[in-house]
Each structure stands twice: as C-alpha cells, then as structure tokens.
C-alpha cells in the first residue's frame, strides 16, 4: 500500500501498470537481478563465443594434445581426445541452453494443455487426465528417461538448421525431458483453472456468450500465468540439469555434438588427474541452474498479486 494519502491530482496522472508494479517488486530481489545479469553473460558467452571459434574447431580431435592442462593455446585445457574445452563449452552451452529452453517449452505446453482441459471441463476428462498424470508421477523420472533414451535414441536423423548440423539425439532429449516433467505444472494449472472458472468474471463471460476457447485463453489463462511462468523458468533449470544427468550416463546427446552434460561423460575417470575436464562445464551448469532459480524466485514474488509492497 502507498503510505501517503492520494489527492485528486494524483488520480489524473497515469497509474502504474501491472508491468511496472511487477518490475518494482522484482527489482527488490538482489539475487534475481544477479541471476538475470549472469544469464545474459552466459548467453553472450555461448552465442557470442561462436564468432571466435568455429564448430569444426570445437569438434577437432588431436590425439597428440590429449588431456592437456589449461595453457596459452587452450585456456581451459583439452579433453581425452585433444579437443579444446573452451570451444566445446561455448558450443555445448548453446546446445544446453537450447535444450533447457525448448524442453521447458514442451513441458509447459503439455502441462498447461492437460491442466487446462482437466480443470475447465472436469468430469470424466478430468478423471482420465489426472489418473494419467498420477501414473506418470509414480514412475521414477530417471527410469523413464533411461528407457526412453535407449528406445528412441538414434531414431531421429541429424538435422540441419541455418547451416548447422544438430545431432538427432538433441531432439530426442528435448522430447524426453519435456514429456517426463509436465506433471507438476499440469496439477498447478488444473488447480488454478478449478478455482478461476467459478469466478464471477468467468460467469459473466459465459453470460455474454463468449466462446469457450476465448474464456480459456483470454480470461482464465492470463490470470493463472504467474505460477506457469515461475514453473517454466524453473523448468529450464531442471531441463539443463536433467540433460547433464542423462548425458553423464552416456545416453544423452551423442558426440561429437557437445553439451555441458556430455562433456562430463568420461570426466569421471579423471576426477583427480585432470580436473579441468569437469570443473569448467560443471561450473557453467551450476551457474546457469543457480541463476535461473534466483530469477524464478524473483518472478514468484513479482507476479504474486497479493504482494503489494513496492
């Protein structure tokens, strides 16, 4: 609440929009601001770095230069087959960030659709969708990931976008992560829809005769956007972590395409003898996930309409 009483003149000045209020609340979270700055730097690193090294260079093996510690020509050292780790963290970062964003997008789309349909229509559809959700939740995600990675891995041919070739396994990993992580969001969205659809403004829209899809997408969805955005943000961090996880197990994105996750694969045997193998990609993963989580926390407060403090 604004502490000072408002005069009539105040009412004539344009009031703060919802977006301005959000920014005021977000700004108070120092860690969230740090997270945003960090993420911008990481994006610049991954996508700007491509101007200094070609992808071919990042994938060039040189057995004479294997397992070199950081030095002048290779500031982050070289890996087990002599590839430059700096260049690989740059290209790996691109893939990891893309996987994080798109997997979270897949997750959000599935979660919102399932939750919205179950919550809005209720009845048998709700029962069926929620039982499916519970069934998915009761299977450990790791098990699902491994089985699906094994089953679908290598089924998709490589893909060329804008002159670059992506391993088909990137698509597989994105789909697998998206398909195995939407359940919590679906439940959140369903709960939001259940409470919002009884709201009088939704009844008013129905009394007007507004078509159903407009009620769902223009009335209810915008009002449940806060938990969806927060969940999607945290989903990016989760997806990057999960990708690292399956890639570390050797079932993720196939070499030579680098990701921060599959750079850790193989580093296991050199934990003490060649720590630069895991320190750099590991640090980047930790930094990214941490920053995204900070941003998510900041968004949670900024988007909460009950938090009035500015």
């Amino acid at each position: 609440m604004v502490g000072v009483s408002r005069s009539v003149d105040d009412l004539l000045t344009p009031p703060l929009t919802l977006r301005q209020l959000m920014w005021l609340r977000f700004r108070r979270h120092k860690m969230a601001l740090f997270g945003v700055a960090m993420l911008i730097l990481l994006v610049i690193y991954s996508f700007g770095g491509a101007f200094f090294f070609s992808e071919a260079y990042a994938n060039t093996t040189n057995t004479k230069m294997r397992l070199q510690p950081p030095m002048a020509g290779h500031p982050f050292g070289t890996d087990t087959v002599g590839r430059d780790i700096l260049a690989r963290t740059i290209y790996g970062g691109q893939i990891s960030l893309i996987i994080g964003l798109t997997a979270a997008l897949v997750e959000t789309i599935i979660g919102v659709l399932v939750g919205a349909l179950a919550g809005y229509y209720g009845g048998l559809l709700d029962s069926v969708l929620m039982r499916v959700t519970e069934a998915m939740l009761s299977v450990p995600q790791l098990f699902l990931l491994i089985v699906m990675a094994k089953f679908f891995g290598g089924q998709i041919p490589d893909l060329t976008v804008m002159g670059r070739t992506f391993s088909g396994s990137v698509i597989v990993i994105i789909s697998i992560i998206g398909v195995t992580s939407w359940m919590y969001l679906a439940r959140i969205v369903r709960a939001e829809f259940l409470s919002l659809k009884e709201n009088e403004f939704v009844l008013a829209a129905r009394a007007i005769g507004t078509p159903r899809w407009q009620i769902i997408f223009q009335h209810i969805l915008p009002n449940s956007i806060a938990p969806i955005i927060v969940s999607a943000t945290l989903g990016v961090a989760g997806a990057i972590g999960t990708e690292a996880y399956i890639s570390f197990l050797g079932m993720g994105v196939r070499p030579p395409t680098a990701t921060w996750g599959n750079m850790l694969d193989g580093a296991y045997n050199y934990i003490e003898t060649a720590p630069w193998l895991w320190i750099f990609p590991g640090m980047l993963i930790v930094l990214t996930v941490l920053s995204i989580n900070f941003v998510g926390d900041g968004l949670r407060d900024a988007l909460d309409p009950r938090s009035r403090a500015t």
């Binding site: 929009t17 919802l18 009088e200 403004f201 008013a204 005769g209 009002n223």
Partner: protein, 341 residues
Amino acid sequence: MNTYDGINLTATAAADTAPPLVEIQNLVKHFPITRGILIQRQVGAVQAVDGVSFTITQGETLGLVGESGCGKTTAGRTILGLYPATAGVVRIDGQDLMTAKGADMLAIRRKAQMIFQDPFASLNPRWTVNAIISEPLRVHKLFQSEQERSERVRDLLELVGLSPRLANRFPHEFSGGQRQRIGIARALASDPEFIVCDEPISALDVSIQAQVVNLLEDLQDQLGLTYLFIAHDLSMVRHICDRVAVMYLGKLVELAQKDELYENPLHPYTQALLSAVPLPDPAAARRQRRIILEGDVPSPSNPPPGCRFHTRCPRTGDRCAESEPVWRDAGGEHFVACHSV
C-alpha cells in the same frame, strides 16, 4: 398514453393476451454428489432449486428473497443457462433457453444479462475497463470497428455515471461502487431487455448501495429494462421491486405484489422474515413482535419430506410432514404454498 395504459391493464388482468418477457416453469437444479475414482457414480444431489415457477412481464422488477443457501443465486444463474438446468422450462421473450443452441443461444444471451454480487470478482483483473465493457460488443459483433466500440464504451461509462476518461484503467484502480458501475455498463452493452441482478448491492457500503439502486432504477426507466432482483435486504427489495417472491430451501413459498406481501404476508416463513426487518421508528420497533425461528436450515441434499419448512414452522401440523403444500392463488395473484393458509 391511454392505449399504453390499456395494454398494461389487460396484461395484468389476463396473462395470456400479452405473454410475459420471462417465463419460468418448474425449474429444477440439482447438483450431483458423486463418488468414484474413474467412473463417477451419483450418490446424492444438492437440491438447490426444486420446482420454481414464475413469470416477469416487460418492464417489471421481480424481487427474489430468502436467506443464504436457499438457492436464489443458483436460480438466477440457471435461468440464464450458466448452470445446465436439471428440469424445467425457461422462456425469455418467447425463446426456449433449454433447447437453444449456437446462434439462437447467442441471441438470447444478448437479450438477457447479469449483474454480479462481488464487484471485485466479477471483472477480469487483467483487462482494461474498455476491454471489459466491449466484450459483449465483440462477442455479438455489434460494431464493425474498434473505434466505434470504444465510442460505445464511453457512452456506456457516462450512462452509469463514470468518466469516459477512465476507459483505459484496470479494475484494481476503482472502488467497489465504481466497479459495480463497470459491471452494470458491461451488462448494458448489448442492449439487453432482461437483467438478473444477483445481490448487486450486498457487497457494497450502505452509502454506496443507495446510489447503485437509484442507478438501476434510472436505467430501468430510461431503457425499459426488466429485472429479476435477487437480494436478502428486505427493505431494499420493497423499494425497488414491483412483486416479490420468497424462497426457502429451493422452493418458492410465497409470491405477491410487494405491498400486499409486506402488509399481508400469508406464509409463516415470510412472516418470520418480515418480523426481522429493522424499523427506523424506535417506538414501532418496540411494538414489533419478532418471530424467532427454531433450529437451522436443513441440508438441501437431504430436505425434509412434505413441506420443507415444517421442521421450523411455528404453525406446523400433521399434514405438513406428509404432503407437500400446493402452490395456489390465495386471491388477487397472491400465491402461497402452505397447508395452514
């Protein structure tokens, strides 16, 4: 003017010559109570509205009163098709709402609108006032261009006593009374004939209540609106309504012209309700005999047999628990359902 009066007289004398604008016959709304994990089976029903019939003529205001939980809000929403009715007939301007679909339904929706109780919940918090009020215009494709629509929104804002400059504001920048005016403007946007006012003033401050009620009355005079006015404030209902229907546990117990009902209530429930109305004159208030009802309202999922009021009725007899009283005219269009009348 004479011919107009003549038509009006025949309309009240013989209902079949001029059909009423709104006709409700034996309206039933049961909410099923279900159990089951995947396949839901019904184990009971909340009998929110159980056989309600009345008519409203053009330009008239019918009050619907009763205590909380008696089903008056559900009745209002079912009449507009916001809840699918379990049984019964609703006709608005001759069109059957129960069977209407698609374009027919949309045409009825344009004619029949609603004003809601809670001005804080009835406006989408993420839409501007302009978007809120122009929603009916967009849905019913009433104007071609965005500009014509905002023109109409400005006119509507003025009609309900708000400054047209406020069109680009969000609902959270308004007070309760102002928000209710926005809700009224939205209800008026599509030029409806019939408006269900679902406790439109009960969430407002007393000082604002009078303003909103006066606005509703002015609009009725200007636009020839027909109201179903759902409320529990009996003195306000007497002020605004032409006829009043009293509801108890999903059923109508009495319906009459307002002065007849307030001065000569027949049903013991109506008598008890009216005895609870505070009187402004302290001397009269001291003389007033309060009828205190015993016990609570029974659950609408398990209503008592016979007359639903017999468990609390001061005049209950043997018949009351066994057979349901018939809804009949006690003379001069004063309808009542009670064995002891």
